[in-house]
């Protein structure tokens, strides 16, 4: 399958500059910002990673994954158990979390991806609920109590850099995906799946691939977040607000674009943080309104609308 990931060179030079600058600033940030700003940046990066992972699947295939938080939660649990039970070093534990999530995605992709959009969406929602119930009652993973991380793992600077790395990798991976054969196939599938299949595209395979990759990154992001907040339990691991927020951020920025989810995360998380959207109902109301407004007024999201008006392509893309 390696030939499926052939990627054609694009004019990287001009496009890459803003990203490189942003990355450089973020790398240097811990040296000159206050701890609270660094913490803000860490969670911003988390949301960037999550929205981008969500975008990797929903943005590229057009299938809405209402059970997205399942990947986050599985990654978190996978990492936690590897770390606390098996003493596996953190970087490896994170990867295991990501792989667990991916494996789960691959497993459920066979029955679910054959379904049309609406069925798939609800099936995934049910799945996430089911996982919550299972983990809540399963003694092997401490059921409702969950896990707490001993102080020895606390290292805010390291956590920051890990999260930065995850966010950066999701952006890079999405870029590669969009500009590869896989991206091309997904583009066709998103537009007209039946026709795509009739010209030889194995839709099920490509969808499953995007699904698994999306799950991988969401899982790793889940792992790093768990490490940062030092606890994990079913309600926090499978919190549907995470799905809601990821959806809102990527929609606002633009599903299917490269920089959209980044912008969306930046805007929404800044608003949430600085205007104290901590009350649950405010969160729901604001995000609900945003989703409705985006669908009706700017369906392609901010970046999507800009790029289609200017007729340029964001991130290259098929």
């Amino acid at each position: 399958m390696l030939k499926d990931l052939l990627f054609e060179k694009r004019k990287l030079s001009r496009y890459i500059v803003p990203w490189a600058v942003a990355l450089a600033l973020l790398v240097l940030a811990p040296y000159f910002v206050s701890p609270s700003l660094r913490s803000f940046l860490l969670f911003l990066l988390m949301w960037i990673a999550l929205s981008q992972s969500f975008n990797m699947f929903t943005g590229l295939t057009g299938y809405v994954n209402f059970g997205f938080v399942a990947f986050y939660g599985l990654g978190g649990y996978g990492m936690t158990i590897s770390l606390l039970h098996f003493n596996i070093p953190i970087y490896l534990a994170l990867i295991i979390g990501g792989l667990l999530s991916s494996a789960f995605a691959f497993l459920v992709s066979w029955p679910t991806l054959r379904l049309r959009g609406a069925y798939f969406a609800i099936a995934m929602l049910s799945l996430a609920q089911a996982l919550f119930v299972i983990f809540d009652n399963w003694n092997l993973v401490n059921s409702a109590t969950g896990y707490t991380f001993p102080v020895v793992y606390y290292d805010p600077t390291l956590e920051y850099y890990y999260m930065l790395a995850v966010a950066a990798f999701t952006v890079i991976c999405l870029y590669l995906l969009m500009n590869s054969r896989v991206g091309l196939a997904l583009k066709a599938i998103k537009q007209d799946e039946e026709t795509a299949v009739s010209i030889g595209i194995n839709a099920t395979f490509y969808k499953a691939l995007a699904f698994a990759i999306s799950a991988f990154f969401a899982g790793i992001a889940g792992g790093v977040t768990t490490w940062t907040i030092t606890i994990i339990d079913p309600p926090s691991a499978f919190d549907t607000t995470i799905t809601l927020t990821s959806i809102s951020m990527s929609m606002l920025g633009g599903l299917g674009t490269l920089s959209g989810p980044v912008i969306g995360a930046l805007i929404l998380y800044s608003i949430e943080h600085y205007f104290g959207l901590t009350l649950p109902y405010l969160h729901l109301i604001v995000f609900g309104i945003i989703i409705v407004v985006v669908v009706l007024v700017i369906p392609q999201g901010i970046i999507g609308e800009i790029t289609s008006k200017l007729k340029i392509r964001d991130g290259g893309g098929g």
């Binding site: 091309l184 537009q191 007209d192 039946e194 026709t195 795509a196 299949v197 009739s198 010209i199 030889g200």
Partner: protein
């Protein structure tokens, strides 16, 4: 490629490359196809006609893999392809067009053809590069236009071009002439001849524009209410009583 003479035979000379046998398809009690069989020979142009609702599109769907038959077999070069998914069947060498053209509207004409060749066209010999194929179907000057701006005739040609990009041995054409101007009809026939004689592509052609089809094909099969009611040379089939009865009430063009 050796071009065989137009035989006009009632059945296939030599062994058929496509062997569809006793296809039966029911939908919740409705019998769409009831034991339909046909064979397609190498480089042959086979017409498939019948009144609306006769089951022609269903048959195409079954051959190309978008539907599974309730019973019966489809064999391609002695390989049983019944029930295989459409993308596998396309890669094996059977391509189809859709009655209502479905181009990828976000892409240009050329890109539409290119993508078909990238994913479905790994067989040899190729019919041609995407550019050459655009030329073949008469879309060369529209190659870089968005598929959105094509008219009906252009979209139909694009359907065919996309199918050809997958280097098919068998081409299932679904009403390619309908919606085209009468003047283009001659082009359609010429195109078919070229595909079959020069490139060795076998074609099953469903059409309602009767006079065109009768001129262009080697052999015709008539289906009505899911059953094959006639088969043979165009001139014989036209005069067949059962065929005329089936079309009673329908204008013969």
């Amino acid at each position: 490629m050796v071009s065989p003479e137009r035989t006009g035979a009632t059945s296939v000379v030599g062994s058929p490359i496509l062997d569809v046998s006793m296809i039966r398809k029911t939908f919740a009690g409705l019998v769409a196809l009831d034991g339909v069989s046909l064979q397609l020979g190498s480089s042959e142009i086979l017409g498939l006609i019948g009144p609306n609702g006769a089951g022609k599109s269903t048959l195409f769907n079954i051959i190309s893999g978008s539907m599974k038959p309730t019973a019966g077999k489809v064999k391609f070069h002695d390989l049983d392809i019944t029930g295989l998914p459409p993308n596998r069947i396309c890669k094996l060498g059977i391509a189809r067009t859709f009655q209502i053209p479905r181009p990828f509207l976000d892409m240009t004409v050329l890109e539409n053809v290119e993508i078909a060749q990238i994913f479905g066209g790994n067989r040899v010999p190729k019919i041609g590069t995407p550019r050459e194929i655009c030329e073949l179907v008469g879309l060369r000057d529209k190659m870089h236009l968005s598929a959105k701006v094509l008219n009906v005739s252009g979209k139909k040609r694009l359907e065919v071009a996309r199918a050809l990009a997958t280097s098919p041995e068998v081409l299932l054409l679904d009403e390619i002439a309908a919606g085209m101007a009468p003047a283009e009809g001659e082009w359609v026939i010429g195109f078919m001849e070229k595909m079959s004689r020069e490139y060795g592509v076998s074609i099953i052609w469903v059409e309602h524009v009767m006079r065109l089809l009768m001129k262009g094909v080697d052999r015709v099969i008539v289906i009505d209410h899911g059953i094959k009611i006639a088969e043979g040379k165009p001139e014989d089939v036209v005069n067949d009583e059962r065929v005329q009865q089936a079309y009673l009430g329908e204008k013969k063009k």
